[in-house]
Symmetry: D2
Subunit: 364 residues, 4 copies
């Protein structure tokens, strides 16, 4: 009953096996390994983007910050949702990598910007004046930080606003596979066909040890990206182990199968919470992440049996009136089992805790 984050889950066994296979003899360092050439081609094929520049880094913050810095000069601003990961959870990495660009925060229900809200934010930054920072870029997250989904049409509606002002668009796809599974869209439909110029293509939250791809649809910026990556300490000498992870991820649709498992568990959990007395979802979750309210007593029954997740309410403690609603964040992962979910649901409903948690072997 571990719902803290998908980044606390283990590595998929197929990926571990690939790492073991990669561990033979010498390999040229710094991205010159043969595996990287395979990965590059595989991602180009997947995205139907034969010219795309493709790079691997080890963390999502890096993928995002390098992508933004690549397009945004220091005197520009990035338009993003108020609760975007780049705004709240990266300790200023976008500002660091860009040498001081700003973020302009856009409000929007359920973690999503609307075209009107984005247009207003852009309009609030004057065009062409030397006194204010310049309009830089639009960045959106899919699956959003609230657990909701932008469909390709919704992505396109936002990028249309951006393109009308000549602004490039970034997608933080830390949960890109989850978004594809939730939407049924193809990689191309969700990205460049919907106006995305650069994608942080996440792997770490979905079964890798620590690899994210950056996919830049206009290869003219490739060399600058390489220099920025090296200069930031993110070019790995033993790069073959990044390549191996990503190759395994993309082989036999493993990435989509892992995301399907996580989303399925998320949907099972969401349906169960919604059907629980006193339970309600902050927004209909599209994938494997959700915010939900339950009475303190329900939380306590689960917590007492070892369920782990974040309570977001200021009044987050276990002491207090039973009926106080407490908001919590739940994230399922590729290895969350039905049994885990069901046991949690039983607990919050006050029905026994005796049933053992039969975890999937790969997680155990």
């Amino acid at each position: 009953m571990f719902f803290v984050s998908d980044n606390a889950a283990p590595v998929a066994p197929e990926v571990m096996a690939a790492l073991a296979r990669a561990n033979e003899g010498f390999a040229m360092p710094y991205g010159n390994d043969a595996g990287m050439e395979h990965v590059r081609q595989r991602i180009r094929d997947l995205f139907d983007a034969p010219e795309a520049a493709v790079y691997l880094v080890a963390t999502g913050t890096t993928a995002n910050a390098l992508s933004l810095a690549l397009f945004c000069p220091p005197w520009s601003t990035v338009f993003c949702h108020r609760h975007a990961h780049i705004a709240e959870d990266e300790c200023g990495a976008p500002e660091f990598f860009s040498a001081g660009a700003k973020l302009t925060l856009v409000d929007g229900a359920e973690g999503k910007m609307t075209p009107a809200g984005l247009a207003e934010a852009i309009a609030s930054t004057a065009r062409g004046g030397v006194h204010n920072v310049q309009r830089g870029m639009v960045s959106l997250t899919n699956i959003t930080e609230a657990g909701t989904l932008y469909t390709p049409a919704e992505v396109a509606a936002l990028t249309d606003v951006a393109k009308a002002e000549g602004l490039p668009c970034h997608m933080d796809g830390a949960r890109f596979a989850n978004a594809l599974v939730a939407s049924g869209a193809s990689p191309a439909e969700m990205t460049w066909k919907a106006g995305i110029d650069v994608l942080s293509f996440g792997g770490t939250k979905n079964g890798l040890m620590g690899v994210e791809a950056v996919v830049i649809f206009d290869p003219a910026r490739a060399w600058e990206f390489e220099l920025r990556r090296k200069r930031a300490g993110h070019l790995f000498s033993k790069h073959r182990y990044l390549s191996a992870q990503m190759a395994a991820y993309l082989a036999d649709d493993l990435w989509l199968r892992l995301a399907e498992a996580a989303n399925r568990a998320g949907q099972r959990l969401a349906a169960g919470i919604a059907a629980t007395p006193g339970g309600s979802l902050a927004a209909p979750p599209a994938a494997n992440l959700m915010f939900a309210t339950l009475p303190r007593a329900a939380h306590n029954r689960a917590r007492n049996e070892g369920a782990a997740y974040y309570i977001m309410s200021r009044d987050a403690g276990m002491e207090g009136p039973d009926e106080t609603p407490q908001l919590a964040r739940f994230v399922t992962s590729w290895c969350t089992s039905d049994a885990e979910v069901d046991r949690f649901l039983s607990l919050i409903r006050g029905r026994g805790s005796r049933a053992g948690c039969a975890q999937r072997p790969s997680c155990a």
Copy 2:
């Protein structure tokens, strides 16, 4: 016969096994894994430094650049050897992480600064004036980029110069284990007892997949380091896999055994080259890295049989007079076998290439 770099070698089998063992169930992310607590304590014990702050990052450039930025404000300069890795091979990472500090390059034979040379460089940067940048820090590399060693006494002689001016000292220990093995010094003797304030404690070149520790002997700067690491995208969510590598590295003296193997191969290679007609070493190698000159014909015989390493001479090609001396860099690693070395030596001496290369199983 792969002597390109130790960072192209595979991961030690003990480390791969530790990664597999770490891959069970959930683990708290971002360095809050239990494994990290073990690693921290282990390193404190090894260095006889119970207060030291210990962090893990994935690349040597990161370990160096974060360490320098931690001690050097943007308006200061780092005194280092002209051919230091931080000066030549990190694409300006120290400047990036420090928001624009300088490097002052110090000449010195065989890759080593001398106390007199360092003192002169420091003196050339006026103290206290607002027009020039301020004296920031001293950084030295051990094993040096030329393959030579600073003994603890030599380290202390340099840090004495620094301390007399109130400057903190950094050691780039990308090959720290090799230096310890070569010198017979203890970790404490080579670092804080010799005046080092912060160490980049390398693992990647010595059998890890991608982990370096930063050891900060004054823990007052720990929190700032954490913020800088996060902000630079170098805080790993699935941090347990970094911890697992480092824990395996330090268990049962694996790290020293790997370095011993690499150094032994290096010494065998060096002795063989020196005993080869037309062969000479640029400096007596202390460990597993050396620059050596051989006639083109000797290089060609080896290259024709697949030996791989960097030729540094401008006239680096295979075409030309047989006797032209060509300078090359050779690096051995933990998995370089005697057979590999011997075969290479036979080739450069013009004696047969028929003997097969019996690599160590772990490298095969």
Copy 3:
């Protein structure tokens, strides 16, 4: 009838005379002129702050950005009003000088933050977490960008909130003299006695050619300020001409007399607009700056006669229905004459334009 900005006004004649007097013989450069020592002591006396560090720079953006950078590390955020000059009008200078700190924008009516609003903004940035940027500083502008005033008590109420969280406080005093005149407070009451740690003490908008003082009440940061100023190109070789301006400004209460003149003109203008049919003030102006609405026809009558000021409404043109309200910004200066104001008021009321504008001789 020039109400565009006080920074478009000429230099006070007393200041021009002082520049001429300073133009004799040689003077030590870079702030080592005798005049600076006088200015330093004069400002310390004025502020009853015998230890304060005092520096001169040439622009308000510089005074602000250096002050913020002095207190805010790159991984922190500055809490300021949504429409603060540092947020909207400095092209990201705070981000540049601080190497990438953020601004957290606080809403508040009439250009003013409230203690509750500030407390909420601070609380929204978690304390101690490594994932978000750290709480850095509070910055407030007095006279505000909306033309309103923080009284010393109001300043103290905000700095109390900041101090409770351990945060230092900056005042952007581009119109500091205007604020003092409007409030009747002493320099000390408005600043360090009310919890301000560093002040941008403006002169340029109030009759100087281009000088602002930075007053740092804790002198421990003085040397770092000097290095930051030099590094940013803001240490003037012929510094004596900055000193001479500031000395003249502070002599015989010139600075307060200039601000009184500007404020008096502002109040006359405000009262007149409020008494004009269709005229209304966005907020009661405290000094020499105001936002006011008038019908287009009224604006047009004034504009046709050469009145100059910014129309802020999106529908800012002269063409359209006469009665459309248009929001405009008006700024008076030390040399705005009663006649200028009265002529403008006559025009917007539709009464003749024949009366000549008798400007003060010093402005003519």
Copy 4:
């Protein structure tokens, strides 16, 4: 007898008069004053460069650092003389403005780089590798920091080396007028016709209060320059006073007449020192700046009578053997009088100190 620096001299009376004339009524701020349009056109005419972008800033460090940052990305290096002002006297401003670019120091006698030395330095930075910083720009100073001159042909020889590698070229012309006077070259011959892409066109050391122009011969970068200038706090609201200074400077060849006076005084001083027993020049001075050696006793006689200049020798004190040679820097300015020079020469030769110093009225 003030030879400390030309930046300690007063402002030329013609310039003071222009400032007084500019002090009438209102003027649009931030470079939108009519005077700036005049200056822009005047400089374009002078340089025979009808498309050049022209901007004014207040300090030489700013002119240099903005110029370098405009052409050099953070991951590049600027090739300049070891003793260039940008390397030694700007507290890291180039690194700050460029977000962390490097300087590669080139040795060369008498303050001048040679084409061969420059070519070697450029070659030492590998082209195209991701591990080292990239080749960025060449910067040279004219008059050099050693007081010597690059002729247009010598400038062209250096820029030819740069252009062969595709590198743009900057000239630090803090003493540009002095260089033109010394060389007889036209502004165009000394700059774009000799391969210079951007010029710091100094005024402050030659009679202005604090104005330098930046002349960018390729106007495509103009807008980025404006943003960088604003962001760095160097866009002046009361810009008309910068324009007025520069307009006066360029009117009636004032700038050349001032430089001629300074150079003439410099030559008189140099000839006199060379003809003094025990006196010798470090390099033949081309203009108004020189390094010269005199015995301590000679220095002492001058210092005792109030002569002011920098002694550069480590043994700089007045106590010690009379005959010890001490190296000193001497700078004359537009207002150095023959009488001042002659009195100094008399003193170092040990002949009387009774003759009064008849300074030029404008300096008195």
